[in-house]
């Protein structure tokens, strides 16, 4: 039952990505060439909305629907944050997609994107395989 709620939030998220054209290769190229405000506008409104939500959760000490406490996200730094992010940036420019949009692109009818998703899964596995040989 719980999982249906996550599915519903995913539908809203995927619908927004798609109708907002954030899954469009054209929009991603436009963004990286600084030729439109559209994608930057999405980021510049999404982040404050998320931040406001987190602020209210913390300020009012809100609990989950079951009454459990909510953990604030903590992201740790390691050198992969720079190296890995640059590599992902290359992939974003090529495919026009981050992991979320990969799913949405497939749903929106680009079935060939299944091969991109499979390749991304292989990429994740490859990182796991060679993790110990890479600078952390």
């Amino acid at each position: 039952m719980k999982n249906i709620q996550y599915l519903l939030v995913g539908i809203i998220f995927g619908l927004a990505l798609t109708k907002g054209e954030a899954i469009s290769w054209y929009r991603i190229q436009e963004m990286f060439r600084f030729e439109s405000f559209h994608m930057f506008g999405i980021f510049m409104t999404a982040v404050p909305t998320g931040a406001l939500g987190l602020f209210l959760i913390r300020n009012w000490n809100l609990k989950t629907m079951e009454g459990n406490s909510i953990d604030m996200p903590v992201k740790k730094y390691h050198h992969g944050v720079i190296i890995g992010s640059l590599i992902f940036g290359f992939g974003w420019a090529l495919t026009g997609a981050c992991p979320g949009p990969l799913y949405a692109q497939i749903g929106s009818g680009s079935l060939v994107t299944i091969t991109t998703l499979l390749s991304a899964i292989v990429g994740t596995w490859t990182y796991g395989r060679f993790q110990n040989y890479l600078p952390d």
């Binding site: 999982n3 249906i4 996550y6 519903l8 995913g10 539908i11 809203i12 998220f13 995927g14 927004a16 990505l17 907002g20 054209e21 469009s24 190229q29 990286f32 030729e35 980021f43 510049m44 982040v47 909305t49 998320g50 931040a51 987190l54 989950t64 406490s69 909510i70 992201k75 730094y77 944050v81 720079i82 890995g84 992010s85 640059l86 590599i87 940036g89 992939g91 420019a93 090529l94 495919t95 026009g96 990969l102 799913y103 949405a104 692109q105 749903g107 929106s108 009818g109 680009s110 994107t113 091969t115 991109t116 998703l117 499979l118 390749s119 899964i121 292989v122 990429g123 596995w125 796991g128």
Partner: protein, 186 residues
Amino acid sequence: MNILYSPWSWYITGPVIGMTVPLLLLIGNKQLGISSTLRQICEACLPSSLPLLNYDWKKDSWNLFFAGGVLIGGWIGGILLANPEPVAISQSTAAYLDSARVHDRSGLLPSELFSWSSLATTKGFLMMIVGGFFVGFGTRYSGGCTSGHGILGLSALQWPSFVATSCFFLGGILFSHLVLPFILAL
């Protein structure tokens, strides 16, 4: 044009995306982060003793339901309520794409580059397969993607996520200007 079919402006799209951060936390203390599903699929389909993948993927099965929802959302937005008009990209981007021989504007992705027939060409292989590999390898190495670092991490004012998001853009900008034109010319 019917409002259901028209694309959403950035000031509608952004807040709806951002809203999912508190929503997931309030439903069950879950943190937005879609690249984690790639790792889960690895663990579920390719059992191995790799430390990265050696965790109980079923514990995070909620995220696979979320990803399934994103796929359904893509179907609703891209097929059921598909925008009949081409993506309204800026004239300068359109001119650049024309000069790079990317003429198709019918969908969300140019069919010259993203199709089964182009998959067997060097260009299509680089765009779809190598690109996908970079996405999967890079996000796991970085510890997150545009959702986990770019939306959730920045919302929580985590400085490593600021570094990560800056590097997503730096990588994409450098690649789009310095490398992609050569790939499109193949």
